[in-house]
Symmetry: C2
Subunit: 596 residues, 2 copies
């Protein structure tokens, strides 16, 4: 069950696809060049491989447990969390003003991947804390910032996101939790929140709940939702902990996966009201929540990549070790390790190519985020923001949809042993399935892609990306190697399919919304496949360029083969998706409701 | 967690696709017409819905357990098994000579589906018993038949298949269990068998293990394997039970799914040797085992369909009940049941169409089996045997590969609730994953399809099927309705893709086996999609024909929409698979071994 962080691949992406040296020219990121990245990644690899990865299977066998309102994390987790905070990992991407390290997302995202490959249940805790930090940084008053940010960024306290209620999942308009203003400017919060990840635990001194609730008299629907800080323990003026707040964990869920991460039902205000502090202004909660959500959505995409990577590594290990049957080509005249069998290779290559493709896509998106937030030139910021916003549903949606599929192949490579829990492959299959659901299901991501990211600007961003892809195709054709030409052909077909779908979306979004939204998830998958394949195509060009320079030949040749495999086995699905979306919408919604 | 057997769809398939009235003209099946089918299915529906289905979730929560060599089935299972045997369900398809009902597989397969939809863990026990019965019927001596068959067919005793050993999974050449001949004609069996489904339990008086082992001095590899009956309790001359045999369950596995079905590690001969009785002749064990395997492979395909059906029903129920968000077309000006959302419809239609397509394919295959085994005309028998043999890897391989995908969509429809074990959707996702593995992984099915079913006859059977499909296309075009024309177009493209791949397989099987086997699983999936889509296309024609006759309009219209959806969203993938197989083989196997 060991894990080896794919540092080489991550640095390759940062250097050659995301151009980290350009990010290091942005004021504030002067020290965030390739050398820094390499040093941080090596350190993170040591920590995640050595401390977190060995606890992953333990967390599955021995989940965090609830008793009388107290949640005790899996044995070993508390100590690991102490090491996590001591290493300063929580503050990696957060501002130095509040004790963080202020590193770019381009580097931070790689660390997020490692944490999640090593131990997704564990890594969920800092992921949610990141969201709380983002919300307070953006919308919190100076007072709230002063009280909470340093302790969240240091990891001394952790954060949560409280959106979901039994009747309000994807549909936040249905939120009923209410907040009553008090004379002292605080609020009393009453309600039940469910699915609160790390909503209660013993790893940190305090837990800072960020809670969506309605102030009495607020408008109905999402326009009447406000955001509150509701700490587990009230905080005294001097920063020390005060009374226990009226926010209690009444149970945790029994889940398919990520079992070490407690998923809490939180009861606010059953004993007089939970003290809450308004974040920003009343009725703007959804807006602030989206700040958290957008950070978390990217992070969940990384989780998809992370689980896929771990499943891939495990499958490769098993395929090297397990001896079964002779190779079909007669190359070995005895039973051989199953990695010699073509179908095992097909499965491993599918796992590998999908994972590397999504990683490359996410790395480029992270660089765009950094430029969008920190570049001195407003026009550059704007361009990058637009690109990043387009990428978020793809990183979240596509990387998580591929993740259970990759994990399923991982089980399959193990044969019967894969179905035995002690083997460990099944855990990834179970863990990965949450990723397409939380922080917005794939359909919610697809709605975002269709509505806010494609239709709203009339397809401008989508077409601009396609134009960039066309340039990569030209470079591939100019290279002229058989691999480059093959990739160019598949990339062009996928790009054309994408453009056809963009036209369909633009044309139909208003006049035939059912038809457009019937194809929204397939559109997201098509776009994800295209962008990931594009980044692997760029990788191929880089590898071809570096090969004669005598650098790591094995790595570069593998990159070329992986890009070609991706084009021939994954990108190749794009035209079929186009046909389903553009020509097959009616049969999605035609069936009479009674006939199901 | 209720289950409603899809009797109407099953009877539609039997009547209109499998032509059960023709089967009823075969001597011995005179009473097996549509009326009988309807009566049997109704009775089976009552039993499975009322008795087995309510125990399914219980079995997952409270698996069969092992203590000191004794396995106790999930509470309720023993009583359910008593009702199962009292109902005569074990003997449904077995010869009347030994107390069975002698019904055709066309009817029996539908009952197998119901049993497995209701409770797959439970249904595995009779499935394995079926295999043991088949082996003894074909290869057992009269004495073995006399001792064992009636009691297996009545369900008084159950059967198992003992193939796998720790070092011998897909590769039976590596079997080490040995059998030493004794002076009295019996053998003493020594060895360890793993993954033995229902290898030990308390539901029946005796367990009849069918065990692969090597007789001393036998040739190496698969040519030296013999098959033995090793009963848990020895049987006296008068049929009563004698001494406990030296075959003991030393542990059961902790599995991802099908938890109520105990998966045993069996130790043979640790206390002097387990008494075994040779089945047929020495060294022909693999041949006999294939008799069991072929029956079981079809049965596992039915399991895939069964789990998919159950997952579909559960998802539909949730989608009708769960209220969340307004429809995108503005048709309802308030939050609505999620079945109104196009992407939920897309997921439900994908689940439905795949399940119905595979069911139609499997029903037609079952009818071919009946004709192959019982038709008076030798030429008809041969044609049907050839067709059935081609279908077995498709029914097993495709119906099981689609099954976890359908179950995954089922979880997705449930959103966050799907990830909570109490909801029950996650169980199907876990249960289904074994199906692509046991009784031969998908890769093993694909090897069979490539080698024995396609290459061996030079593609003759494959092309004959394609020719039949072409006739259906002509009928669709003759119909001329928009739905029929759409289906015809997608079917023609898929058929052409299939033929291209058949040519590739025939051309390359000997000269470039790695390239052919790199595409073996995609070939299987393409062929499965094609044949299932073909059967739905035939269903569409039938439905169009019946509609003006005033029969069940809602059902027939749904059949047409489902066929169209299948064509536009699933068959449409065939050309992409063709490209991957025919043009993308090199990138599957090109990566250097060290580079993984």
């Amino acid at each position: 069950m060991s894990y080896t962080a794919p540092v080489k691949d991550m640095l390759f992406n940062m250097q050659h696809l995301a151009h980290i040296e350009q990010i290091a020219q942005i004021p504030g990121f002067e020290d965030a060049g390739l050398d820094t990245a390499a040093a941080v990644l090596e350190e993170c690899a040591r920590f995640t491989e050595g401390v977190l990865a060995p606890l992953n299977f333990e967390g599955d066998k021995n989940p965090s447990s609830w008793k009388d309102g107290v949640v005790t994390a899996t044995p070993g987790f508390k100590d690991a969390f102490r090491q996590f905070t001591e290493g300063g990992w929580q503050g990696l991407q957060h501002p130095q003003d509040f004790g963080g390290q202020g590193l770019p997302k381009t580097i931070g995202a790689a660390c997020t991947e490692m944490l999640n490959s090593a131990n997704m249940s564990f890594a969920l805790c800092p992921l949610l804390t990141d969201g709380a930090i983002e919300a307070l940084l953006t919308a919190g008053s100076d007072e709230l910032k002063a009280i909470y940010l340093e302790k969240l960024i240091s990891g001394q306290w952790t954060g949560t996101m409280n959106l979901t209620e039994p009747q309000a999942g994807s549909d936040l308009a249905l939120v009923r939790t209410r907040a009553e203003p008090q004379p002292d400017g605080t609020y009393k919060v009453f309600g039940t929140k469910i699915f609160i990840t790390w909503g209660e635990h013993d790893m940190a001194e305090n837990i800072v709940h960020l809670v969506l609730a309605r102030v009495a008299g607020a408008p109905e629907g999402v326009k009447g939702i406000s955001l509150f800080v509701v700490p587990k323990f009230l905080v005294n003026q001097d920063g020390s902990l005060g009374a226990r707040n009226d926010a209690h964990c009444v149970s945790i869920e029994h889940k398919l996966g990520i079992k070490a991460s407690p998923t809490a039902v939180l009861q606010f205000g059953d004993h007089g009201g939970a003290v809450g502090y308004l974040v920003g202004e009343e009725n703007r909660g959804l807006e602030y929540m989206f700040i958290m959500m957008n950070a978390a959505r990217y992070g969940v995409g990384m989780q998809g990549i992370a689980v896929a990577e771990r499943a891939y590594q495990k499958a490769v290990q098993y395929a090297r070790d397990r001896v079964q049957s002779r190779p079909v080509d007669g190359s070995i005249n005895a039973s051989a390790a199953i990695i010699h069998h073509p179908d095992v290779r097909r499965m491993l290559m599918t796992m590998r190519a999908t994972t590397e493709g999504c990683r490359a896509m996410a790395t480029v998106a992270a660089a765009a985020y950094d430029a969008a937030h920190h570049h001195p030139d407003a026009e550059v910021r704007k361009q990058n923001a637009t690109f990043y916003e387009f990428m978020v549903p793809l990183v979240k949606g596509y990387s998580t949809e591929m993740s259970p599929e990759v994990a399923s192949l991982g089980v399959q490579v193990h044969g019967g042993m894969g179905f035995i829990e002690e083997t460990g492959a099944a855990q990834y299959y179970r863990d990965a399935k949450i990723l397409t659901i939380y922080e917005g299901t794939t359909a919610i991501q697809a709605n975002d892609l269709v509505g806010r990211k494609t239709a709203r600007d009339g397809g401008q961003t989508a077409r601009a990306i396609a134009a960039q892809i066309e340039k990569t195709e030209a470079e591939l054709l100019a290279s002229g190697t058989p691999a480059a030409k093959t990739v160019a052909r598949r990339l062009a077909a996928a790009r054309q399919a994408f453009l056809d779908v963009v036209d369909f979306v633009i044309g139909g979004a208003k006049v035939s919304p059912n038809a457009v939204f019937a194809g929204s998830v397939p559109y997201l998958l098509l776009a994800g496949k295209l962008v990931a394949g594009w980044q692997l195509a760029r990788s191929l060009l880089v590898a071809e360029d570096l090969l004669p320079k005598g650098q790591d030949e094995a790595f570069l040749r593998a990159k070329i083969t992986t890009a070609q495999f991706y084009a021939e086995h994954i990108l190749v699905k794009a035209p079929g998706l186009r046909d389903s979306i553009v020509e097959g919408a009616a049969s999605v919604t035609d069936l009479a409701l009674d006939a199901f």
